[in-house]
């Protein structure tokens, strides 16, 4: 039995994970290397986290599939409890309450809440008789995701909270959302963005009206949706003022990093310099001047990809991007072939988290995405995040092993 379990393990997936972890450890070593100083405290720590994470991952992989399925709501409830707990006994880090500390162990409940939300949503959507295009069910799924989102936003951890929004639509889409419902859900987001400009907002409202009229739904339903748009459009500028100044600054600096070269823009500028100066072949391991002379801020956490860009060049960047691509495509393939719709939807949720992290983090280092404090999966330094990612992988391996179960 035991032997057959091991043979059932998803080796292609394990290989991809192993490569990414190795890359991550190397990059962390380089980013935290102090020339002339032998004891690098970051690398052994990260190595320990990696090993712990791998053990947890394998432990989850070998759990009975039914246990995972049944514990979805329990996990969700527990993670919500932790998120609330954070408000009372949380530890401040970077101006936000994000950490729970139990003795020497510090965890970030928001990292685990992501997975719990996905599992709970997947469980709900895979229930017999749930029609995703039904308004009542949409509200239920939304609630599952919005509750942890609000709790994380209040921490206030803008970056992590965005992840919850990001998984929402792919999950529903995968679960069979119709194109019209998709439009109804996505449209308010555009309304949000366009509400800052009156004419753009007016034009967008025109498009929304046309789509609504062409859909031939009940009139009161259409009017309600239209009114929601108007309301969103009016409230968004108010919400903007509610954001913390540093959050506003991050979003504004994204548009023009040169405007504040000493403050927020410093990170983006230095990151661009690091990556750009790496060229095609890179400066070589431990040879990046931006990295080794500590010009990069947060170079072992959020900006670790700049280290890779500088020291390994475009070649290294493309290599790592292709490993991520392989991983993402493989996960989508898995989502398609597993029999259980709970597994399938969960895998898509996790895939979305990975894609969101990869895109925002890497995009941020080259100045194509805002600086939101989102780490790079498998590679960034940080135990809580690494372990949470490996736990997700553990679930996926479990789903892969049990791909023929319903």
């Amino acid at each position: 039995m035991r032997k057959s379990l091991i043979t059932k393990l998803d080796f292609p997936l394990l290989l991809l994970i192993a490569i990414l972890l190795a890359v991550g450890l190397t990059a962390v070593y380089s980013a935290t290397n102090v020339p002339g100083l032998q004891n690098n405290e970051y690398f052994p720590k990260q190595l320990t986290f990696t090993i712990i994470g791998l053990i947890i991952m394998l432990a989850i992989a070998f759990l009975p599939f039914k246990v995972l399925q049944r514990s979805a709501y329990t996990l969700y409830g527990f993670s919500i409890f932790l998120l609330i707990l954070v408000f009372f006994i949380g530890v401040k880090g970077f101006g936000a309450e994000r950490w729970l500390s139990f003795g020497p162990i510090k965890i970030q409940p928001s990292e685990f809440a992501k997975l719990a939300a996905i599992l709970a949503a997947a469980k709900y959507l895979s229930k017999q008789g749930v029609d995703i295009n039904n308004f009542r069910h949409i509200i239920s799924v939304s609630a599952i995701i919005i509750i942890p989102f609000i709790l994380v936003v209040r921490q206030p951890d803008l970056g992590t909270s965005l992840v919850f929004l990001a998984i929402f639509i792919p999950l529903m889409f995968w679960a069979g959302l119709s194109w019209f419902t998709l439009f109804v859900i996505i449209a308010p987001m555009f309304t949000c963005i366009l509400s800052f400009n009156f004419y753009a907002f007016l034009f967008w409202m025109l498009i929304v009206s046309i789509v609504l009229i062409l859909s031939h739904r009940k009139v009161y339903f259409l009017i309600t949706i239209f009114l929601i748009h108007i309301l969103v459009g009016l409230l968004t500028p108010q919400m903007w003022d509610q954001l913390r100044p540093y959050q506003q600054k991050r979003i504004m600096t994204f548009a023009d990093p040169e405007a504040d070269p000493k403050g927020t823009g410093y990170q983006i500028i230095q990151s661009r310099v690091a990556i750009g100066s790496g060229g095609i072949w890179g400066k070589g391991f431990l040879q990046g001047t931006q990295t080794q002379l500590k010009f990069l801020p947060a170079q072992h956490t959020d900006f670790i990809f700049s280290v890779i860009g500088e020291e390994w060049g475009l070649v290294g960047v493309l290599f790592i991007l292709s490993i991520f691509l392989a991983l993402l495509l493989y996960l989508i393939y898995l989502a398609r072939i597993v029999r259980s719709s709970f597994s399938s939807i969960s895998i898509i949720g996790i895939t979305t988290i990975l894609l969101f992290h990869v895109f925002i983090n890497i995009g941020m280092t080259v100045g194509l995405a805002p600086v939101t404090g989102i780490p790079l999966p498998f590679i960034s330094y940080g135990g809580s995040f690494l372990i949470s990612i490996l736990i997700m992988m553990g679930f996926i391996i479990n789903f892969s092993i049990n791909r023929y179960e319903y």
């Binding site: 020339p35 792919p170 889409f173 995968w174 679960a175 069979g176 070269p261 000493k262 230095q270 661009r272 310099v273 690091a274 990556i275 750009g276 100066s277 790496g278 060229g279 095609i280 001047t289 931006q290 002379l293 500590k294 010009f295 860009g309 500088e310 060049g313 475009l314 960047v317 493309l318 991007l321 691509l325 993402l328 495509l329 989508i332 393939y333 989502a335 398609r336 029999r339 719709s341 399938s344 898509i348 895939t351 894609l355 895109f359 890497i362 995009g363 080259v366 100045g367 194509l368 319903y406």
Partner: protein
């Protein structure tokens, strides 16, 4: 999947993959743009990030006298600099508190700069402040101290008007000369300004590797470093002992003394009093002292020798005499009667001698400095000739001495008078000019140059302080290019007559107090009336008569008669020059020019009576 159709799922996975593909195209575009298209720009930026250029300041060239003695030297001083990229607001606050600066001003200075090049905020700070900065080096890495040379004057050296002062380059000066970088110390006045490009040398560069906190990690590449080149030394023509003596002669006076070597135009002495201690304009300048210097009613900052203009008084009669002779308007024999006054229209102009000079010829008129005689000459020659000869003798134009801010003086012409007096001007204006009064204005240097022209009978050289420049990088000496000029159109006969007249001036004439025993010489006194009070005392002379070496001009403001005040100063200077000591005189004699007795004019002196005298009191400070 129990609910969703397999083909639907397949389509949706394709949509997902397509979405991922789009994101990848976007990301890869970002990397290619940075790492392939703009690689060089970012590579350069990363080098600039980690390599800091340290400027190595060269020693400013020294100023030495004829013997090579150092007159202006350098000493180290400490400056505070801020590295804009590293300095935090807290550091700037700390710095401002330490040396009592306006925080806003400092921030303005570094606002637009993000580099690692240190910007100097304050100069010449004291040792306590240096220690405070070094102690807080780790806490405030953006604030550093820099050693820079500052000017140092050995004991006994004054002459601020010759050397001038240095100071931080201004915005306007930076625009005028692109060699200057912000924070550079450049010459502001005097020789320091005129020869700044020689004196400043060139800066060196030392490349240092630094990390993001600004910590120095060591040298970058020793082969890229550039050593600073010491500025060239100026060797002056003057001997500072003579200059010191000349300055001592003028202590307590307002005025100037200019002595030129007539053989090559080299300045032997250039004195302007009152002056100030050049040390107060080195390093940190205290606003209170600076304001005191600027508002002092005796204008110590002003170099009277080259910047002040005065009416030349009777010394200018030589110009009128030369013009009249050359134009054949008069002959040396031409005689005129001086009754002691001269009536011109309704005005009566008095001769300085109330009793009158009687019937005199040109030689006697020069010797006795008769106003009536020269008023008549002035009326005869007319303004155009007078202007022409004034210009020929170098008046109304800069002499071209190697000092900045020289004045031109003023030689009025017909056009000038027409402009100045639109209602018409009288012959009185013209007559006034002939005796060196009225609108005419000259600098002491111009008058000394005029004495040089008379000494050399038309040949003269551009006055210059610098004899040669020593270049440290080529180890070569460059001589000052002496510009020798000649006045055409004045015959030797004319020179002979006026020179004889001037010889008579010091031999029993108005300038007899200017005569150096044992040296044949020529001179001319002047007492220029002016609206500020007593007459300005003038004396110009050259010596020896036959083979001249020195031309000298002395002016003492509002001191009285030239013969009584200026001539003795010139005499003492020439005695020092020719004998290297002063020659004591018999009792001062009353001017006896009206009963000329050739025998009485030889002043008796006994060589045994000559005593060594103290020439100069080095510690004395006449400003106080």
């Amino acid at each position: 999947m129990n609910k969703i159709d397999k083909t639907v799922l397949y389509n949706r996975s394709l949509i997902f993959s397509g979405f991922i593909f789009l994101i990848y195209v976007f990301l890869i575009y970002g990397f290619v743009r940075l790492q392939v298209t703009n690689k060089e720009i970012y590579l350069q930026k990363s080098i600039n990030n980690s390599i800091r250029k340290i400027q190595l300041y060269p020693g400013r060239g020294l100023i030495r006298d004829q013997d090579g003695d150092i007159l202006v030297d350098n000493r180290p001083s400490f400056s505070i600099a801020v590295i804009p990229k590293v300095a935090s607001n807290k550091s700037v606050k700390f710095l401002c508190k330490l040396i009592n600066l306006d925080e806003k001003e400092v921030k303005d200075k570094i606002r637009k700069l993000y580099g690692f090049r240190p910007v100097i905020i304050a100069r010449d700070i004291n040792y306590k402040q240096v220690i405070a900065i070094e102690e807080n080096r780790l806490k405030h890495p953006g604030v550093i101290s820099i050693v820079e040379p500052k000017r140092y004057y050995p004991e006994g050296i004054m002459s601020p008007h010759i050397f001038g002062a240095t100071g931080e380059v201004s915005k306007a000066e930076q625009i005028m000369n692109t060699v200057y970088e912000q924070g550079d110390i450049i010459g502001k006045t005097g020789l320091e300004k005129k020869y700044d490009l020689d004196l400043r040398g060139s800066k060196g560069i030392h490349y240092l590797r630094v990390d993001a906190s600004g910590r120095e990690l060591g040298t970058y590449d020793i082969n890229r470093d550039v050593s600073p080149i010491h500025g060239s030394d100026l060797h002056l023509y003057l001997d500072y002992e003579t200059q010191q003596f000349a300055e001592s002669l003028m202590v307590g006076q307002r005025g100037a003394l200019v002595a030129i070597d007539v053989r090559n135009g080299g300045i032997i002495s250039l004195v302007s009093k009152p002056d100030f201690d050049p040390r107060i304009l080195t390093g940190r300048i205290y606003p209170a002292i600076w304001n005191k210097l600027q508002t002092d009613e005796s204008h110590p900052l002003y170099s009277r020798a080259i910047q002040s203009v005065y009416p030349p008084g009777s010394t200018y009669k030589i110009v009128a005499a030369a013009a009249a002779l050359q134009e054949k308007i008069i002959t040396p024999r031409w005689k005129e009667y001086c009754p002691g006054y001269f009536r011109l229209g309704r005005k009566t102009i008095k001769c300085w001698k109330v009793k009158g000079h009687g019937l005199i010829d040109l030689n006697e008129a020069i010797k006795g400095s008769c106003n009536v005689y020269f008023l008549k000459i002035g009326l005869k020659i007319g303004i155009d000739i007078w202007t022409k000869y004034s210009r020929m003798f170098g008046f109304g134009a800069r002499t071209g001495i190697d000092l900045p801010n020289e004045s031109k003086g003023l030689v009025p012409s017909t056009e000038y008078f027409n402009k100045r007096y639109p209602k018409g001007w009288t012959r009185g204006n013209l007559a006034n000019l002939a005796i060196g009064q009225g609108e005419l204005l000259v600098t002491p240097l111009q008058l000394a140059q005029f004495a040089m022209i008379l000494a050399n009978k038309g040949v003269y050289h551009t006055p210059h302080l610098v004899d040669h420049i020593y270049n440290y990088s080529t180890h070569s000496t460059t001589k000052f290019p002496v510009d020798t000029k000649y006045i055409t159109g004045i015959s030797d006969d004319v020179y002979y007559v006026v020179r004889e007249g001037m010889r008579a001036v010091v031999n029993g004439g108005t300038g007899w107090l200017g005569k150096v025993p044992g040296i044949e010489m020529a001179g001319k006194t002047g007492s220029a009336q002016n609206p500020h009070g007593d007459t300005h005392a003038w004396f110009m002379a050259f010596a020896p008569y036959d083979f001249p070496e020195v031309a000298i001009a002395v002016v003492v403001e509002n001191a009285g008669a030239g013969g009584g005040v200026a001539a003795p100063i010139a005499r003492k200077f020439l005695e020092k020059y020719f004998y290297n000591r002063l020659i004591p005189r018999a009792v001062a004699k009353k001017d006896t020019t009206d009963q000329i007795n050739a025998d009485s004019l030889t002043i008796p002196f006994d060589f045994n009576e000559i005593q060594p005298i103290q020439l100069f009191n080095a510690g004395e400070n006449e400003d106080q």
